[in-house]
C-alpha cells in the first residue's frame, strides 16, 4: 500500500475527503473497491468516533399499535427507540459489568436489602427540565403499579419501598436481592419527568436523542439532544428508524444503501448477505432460546421418565444446524447458558441418544402418540423444528403427533395453556430473573408448571447470597434440577444476527440484546 493511498485513507477517515471521491481515487491507484472499502472501515475505526451524518436503520418488530409509553414496550422497535431516546439508571456493559448511567454510583447494605443510588448531577430532560432523584423514584413507582401494565412489573415486585434523600434514590427490597442493579437496566425503566405520571406517551426522556416524528409502525425520527451529558454517545446528527417487517425488503434496503443498519437477518440468508459488497454481518451469542415445553403436572408429562425420554429424543446438533444454520449454540434443557454471569460450564451437555430415550419411554409405561403443538410464530422455524423432533423421536420409538396452530392467538390459546408446545424465551440479564420469571413455583409465567420445593429454596437463598462462589454453586444445582426434572426441552440458544454496511462503523460486540443492546445507533458513527 503506497503512501498516497495511506494519506487518502487518513484524510477520508478524518472526514476531510468524502467517501465517493476516496473510492474513485483509490481505484485510480489500483486498489479494488471492496479492499479500499474495508480498509476505510478499519481506518475509520482507528480514528475514533466522528460526529455528523444521518443514520437510517430498518427494523423488524414494529406495529402501528406501538406506543411511546415505555411501560407498554414489547417488540424490537419500541425497544430500539426507547434505547435511542431514554436512559436507565444502570446499563450492563459490553463485558457484562454494571455501568452507572443516570445513577452515578450505587451501593448495597450488608444484607442486600437496601440499595442507595446517587443520581448523576447535570442531566436534563429533552424538555429542558433537570432530572432529579424524585423523577427516578416516580418512574420506578409508576412501573411498580399493577395498573400501569408495565412490562417491568415482574422486576419491580421485589421492591417494597422507594424513597429519596437529596440526590440519592433509595430502594428497599422485601427479601435480599443481590441482583437488583442488573434488573434496573431493563429497557422499560427509562427515566421520565415525574416518572411519566403526567403523560407517559410524551416521548420526553433524558437519552442522547429526542424524538421528532412518531408514526408507529412506519417510521420514527430523532435528532441529537445537544445537552446530553455523555459525549461518547450520539455521534449521528439524526436517526431515522424505518419499520421494515419483511426480511427480504429489509435486506434489499440494506443492499441498495437505503438503510445502513438492520436487525434480525434470517439465519438462512445471513451467509449470502455477508458476501454482498460492503455488508458486515454481526452475530451476538445471546440468552434467547427456542424451546419445547411440557407441563410437569399434566398427564402424560407428569411422568418424569416420559420427560426424560423426550429430552433424550431430540437431536440438538441437527436442529442447530438446520434451523439456525449454526447461528446459535446448543441448549441443555435449562434456560441458562454461558452468556449469564455465574454460569457453571461443567454441567454435562445432554446429547441425542435414541437408546436412552427408548429406555426411559418404556419405563414410563406410556403408549400411543403424543401431541406437540407448534406454529410459525412460536419461533422462526418452529414448524420445521417440530418435524425434526418428530423424526428423531420416531427413531427411539416415540410417536409425536404435530398439531399446527395458527399464529394468530398462539400466545393466548396455546402457549401456557396446552401441555406440550413450541415456544421461545428472550432471556433475562441474570439467572435469578430468568428463574423467577418462569421456574419458581409461584412465577407469573410458570409455563412448564414446575413445582419443586428444593429449587424454590435454593433460588431464595441465592438471591441474598453476596458470596459469588457460593452463589455459583447454588445456581449450578438449580440448573441441574431444571435440566433433569423440569419440563423444559431446550434444543438451542439463538444468536442475534444484525447487519450494517460500510457507511457506518464502530460496532462492538455486546452480549445483552440485539443491536449492541440497542445502543448501536448511539455508539456507532458515520464513515462518510
Amino acid at each position: 500500500m503506497n503512501d498516497e493511498f495511506q494519506y487518502l485513507l487518513n484524510r477520508t477517515a478524518r472526514g476531510k475527503l468524502d467517501r465517493r471521491s476516496f473510492m474513485g481515487r483509490a481505484a485510480a491507484l489500483g486498489v479494488a473497491g471492496a479492499t479500499a472499502g474495508s480498509l476505510l472501515g478499519s481506518a475509520a475505526l482507528a480514528q475514533g468516533p466522528r460526529r455528523g451524518g444521518t443514520l437510517t436503520m430498518g427494523m423488524q418488530g414494529g406495529e402501528s399499535t406501538n406506543s411511546l409509553d415505555p411501560a407498554a414496550a414489547q417488540s424490537q422497535v419500541p425497544f430500539a427507540y426507547l434505547k435511542i431516546m431514554g436512559e436507565p439508571l444502570i446499563n450492563i456493559d459490553d463485558n457484562g459489568n454494571l455501568e452507572g448511567r443516570v445513577a452515578e454510583e450505587f451501593e448495597a447494605s450488608a444484607d442486600a436489602m437496601t440499595w442507595r443510588f446517587k443520581i448523576r448531577s447535570g442531566i436534563t430532560f429533552h424538555n429542558g427540565q433537570p432530572l432529579t432523584a424524585e423523577d427516578c423514584a416516580q418512574t420506578l413507582r409508576r412501573h411498580s403499579d399493577e395498573d400501569s401494565q408495565s412490562g417491568a412489573l415482574g422486576i419491580m415486585r421485589g421492591i417494597s419501598n422507594i424513597s429519596t434523600d437529596g440526590d440519592t434514590l433509595i430502594l428497599e427490597t422485601s427479601t435480599p436481592n443481590a441482583d437488583l442493579p442488573y434488573l434496573l437496566s431493563d429497557y422499560h425503566l427509562m427515566m421520565q419527568p415525574n416518572g411519566g405520571f403526567d403523560d407517559p406517551t410524551a416521548g420526553i426522556f433524558s437519552g442522547p436523542y429526542k424524538i421528532v416524528d412518531n408514526e408507529p409502525g412506519v417510521r420514527h425520527t430523532f435528532e441529537r439532544f445537544e445537552e446530553y451529558w455523555d459525549s461518547s454517545m450520539g455521534h449521528f446528527n439524526a436517526i431515522e428508524l424505518l419499520v421494515i417487517n419483511d426480511a427480504t425488503a429489509r435486506n434489499s434496503a440494506l443492499q441498495s444503501g437505503q438503510v445502513q443498519l438492520v436487525n434480525r437477518v434470517p439465519p438462512t440468508v445471513a451467509g449470502l448477505l455477508g458476501r454482498a459488497p460492503g455488508i458486515s454481518i454481526q452475530t451476538t451469542a445471546g440468552r434467547g432460546h427456542y424451546v419445547f415445553i411440557m407441563h410437569c403436572n399434566t398427564a402424560p408429562f407428569d411422568n418424569m421418565d416420559l420427560r426424560l425420554a423426550l429430552k433424550h429424543a431430540i437431536n440438538r446438533e441437527d436442529m442447530l444446524d438446520r434451523i439456525l444454520r449454526g447461528y446459535g449454540s446448543l441448549g441443555n434443557d435449562m434456560p441458562i447458558n454461558a452468556s449469564y454471569p455465574l454460569f457453571d460450564n461443567t454441567i454435562e451437555q445432554r446429547t441425542y441418544d435414541p437408546d436412552q430415550a427408548r429406555f426411559y419411554f418404556e419405563r414410563s409405561g406410556h403408549s400411543g402418540p403424543i401431541d406437540l403443538r407448534t406454529a410459525d410464530g412460536a419461533f422462526a422455524g418452529a414448524v420445521e423444528a417440530a418435524q425434526l423432533f418428530q423424526e428423531s423421536a420416531a427413531a427411539a420409538g416415540i410417536e409425536l403427533n404435530i398439531i399446527r396452530e395458527p399464529n394468530d392467538g398462539y400466545w393466548s390459546e396455546v402457549w401456557n395453556t396446552e401441555p406440550f408446545c413450541a415456544s421461545y424465551w428472550g432471556g433475562r440479564p441474570v439467572q435469578d430473573q430468568m428463574y423467577s420469571t418462569a421456574y419458581v413455583s409461584d412465577a407469573d409465567w410458570n409455563d412448564t408448571r414446575f413445582f419443586n420445593e428444593r429449587f424454590d429454596s435454593l433460588l431464595y437463598e441465592a438471591r441474598g447470597e453476596l458470596d459469588l462462589t457460593r452463589r455459583k454453586e447454588l445456581y449450578s444445582e438449580m440448573g441441574r434440577i431444571v435440566r433433569d426434572e423440569g419440563g423444559l426441552i431446550n434444543p438451542m440458544f439463538n444468536d442475534f444476527i444484525d447487519a450494517h454496511n460500510d457507511q457506518i462503523t464502530g460496532w462492538v460486540s455486546n452480549p445483552n440484546l440485539e443491536l449492541m443492546d440497542g445502543l448501536a445507533p448511539s455508539k456507532m458513527w458515520s464513515t462518510e
Binding site: Q74, A249, A253, S256, W411, S412, E413, D444
Partner: protein, 318 residues
C-alpha cells in the same frame, strides 16, 4: 319520476342497506376472534390481574349489543373512537393511512386503467395475430405470478441492481409530490401488472362479443377504419361489463394490497389493519372494515349506475 332517477335512488338505498348489513357482520366478526384485546395487548406477559384490570378499563365486560349501537352511532357522527392499543385517535390515524392508500391506488389506476383498455382494443384490432397473443401472454404471465414474488423481482432488478427506484416506499408529509411518485414507482408498477390482465382480457372479450353484431358489419361495410369501428361503435355497447371489471379492480387496489404494502414498506391501510387485528384492537378493525366496505360498495354502486346510464333504452324510455 324519471325512471333513471328512480333506478339510481333504488341502487343507493340498496347500497346503504348493504352497508348496514356489513357493519353488523364486521361487529360480529370482531367478537368471535379468539382471545380479546386485553389478552392480545399484554401478550405472552399477561397475568390474570392485569387482564381483569384492562378488561374493566376498556368496557369489554358490557353486553355486545350495547357496544354495537354505541359504536354505530358514534361512527355515523364521524367519531371512530380511540385505538385501544396506543390511545391514538382513530379518525386521525386512519386519515393519513387512507390518503396514502388512495394515493398509491390512484397512481396505479391512472397507469393501469387506460393502458388495459387501450391494450384490450388493440388486441381486438389484431385479434389472433401476434400483437394479441403477445399482449395476452405477458399480462397473463404477470397475473399468474404471486404479487410478493413480482415485488421481489422488481425490487431486485430496479432497486438493488440498477438503483433506479428506492426499495422502501415509505412516504411522509415532508416529501414533494415528485418524491412521492418516485417512492411509489415500484409498488405502483407491480400493482399495474397485477390488475392489467383482468381488465384487458375483459375489455377484449366484451368487445369481441359485440363485434359479432350486425351493426358492426354495417359499419365495416361503410368502409370505416377498423380501429374506429372498435372504439366508436363496439366500445360504447360494451361499457357496462368493462366498467364493472374496472371498478372491481379499483376496489382491489384500495382494499387488497396488504402484501404489496408489506413488501415495499408502504404505510397504507392494509398494514394498519393487520397490525390492529393481531393486537385485537377492535375499534380500529371495525373502523377499517367499515371504510373498506364503504369503498367496495361505493365503487360497485358507481359501476351499476354507469351501466344503467350507458344503456340508451334506460336513458330514453318511451
Amino acid at each position: 319520476m324519471h325512471p333513471i332517477v328512480k333506478l339510481v335512488t333504488q341502487r343507493l338505498a340498496l347500497g346503504l342497506l348493504l352497508l348496514f348489513a356489513a357493519s353488523v357482520l364486521i361487529f360480529l366478526g370482531t367478537q368471535i376472534l379468539p382471545g380479546d384485546v386485553a389478552q392480545a395487548i399484554l401478550g405472552q406477559s399477561a397475568t390474570p390481574e392485569a387482564l381483569a384490570n384492562m378488561r374493566a378499563e376498556m368496557g369489554l365486560d358490557r353486553p355486545a349489543i350495547t357496544r354495537y349501537f354505541e359504536w354505530l352511532f358514534n361512527a355515523l357522527q364521524g367519531d371512530l373512537g380511540t385505538a385501544l392499543s396506543n390511545g391514538r385517535d382513530i379518525t386521525e390515524s386512519i386519515a393519513s393511512r387512507l390518503t396514502n392508500t388512495l394515493f398509491l391506488a390512484s397512481v396505479a389506476a391512472v397507469v393501469s386503467v387506460p393502458l388495459a383498455i387501450f391494450l384490450g382494443l388493440f388486441a381486438v384490432r389484431f385479434r389472433d395475430r401476434w400483437p394479441d397473443r403477445l399482449i395476452s401472454a405477458i399480462t397473463l404471465t404477470s397475473i399468474s405470478l404471486p404479487e410478493f414474488l413480482l415485488g421481489y423481482i422488481m425490487m431486485y432488478v430496479f432497486a438493488v441492481k440498477l438503483s433506479w427506484f428506492p426499495s422502501v416506499s415509505t412516504i411522509n408529509d415532508s416529501m414533494s409530490f415528485l418524491e412521492k411518485l418516485n417512492a411509489v414507482a415500484l409498488p405502483a408498477l407491480v400493482l399495474t401488472l397485477v390488475v392489467l390482465a383482468h381488465m384487458m382480457r375483459m375489455t377484449r372479450a366484451a368487445i369481441l362479443n359485440v363485434m359479432q353484431s350486425a351493426y358492426i358489419e354495417t359499419a365495416e361495410l361503410k368502409g370505416l377504419r377498423r380501429f374506429n369501428v372498435i372504439a366508436r361503435h363496439a366500445m360504447p355497447n360494451s361499457i357496462a361489463p368493462i366498467v364493472n371489471v374496472v371498478m372491481l379492480n379499483l376496489a382491489y387496489l384500495v382494499v387488497g394490497v396488504v402484501v404489496i404494502e408489506v413488501v415495499f414498506v408502504y404505510p397504507g391501510m392494509g398494514q394498519y389493519l393487520v397490525d390492529h387485528v393481531s393486537k385485537r384492537d377492535v375499534p380500529v378493525v371495525q373502523a377499517c372494515g367499515l371504510i373498506f366496505a364503504t369503498i367496495y360498495i361505493g365503487l360497485n354502486l358507481v359501476a351499476d349506475v354507469v351501466s344503467i346510464l350507458s344503456n340508451p333504452r334506460l336513458r330514453h324510455p318511451k
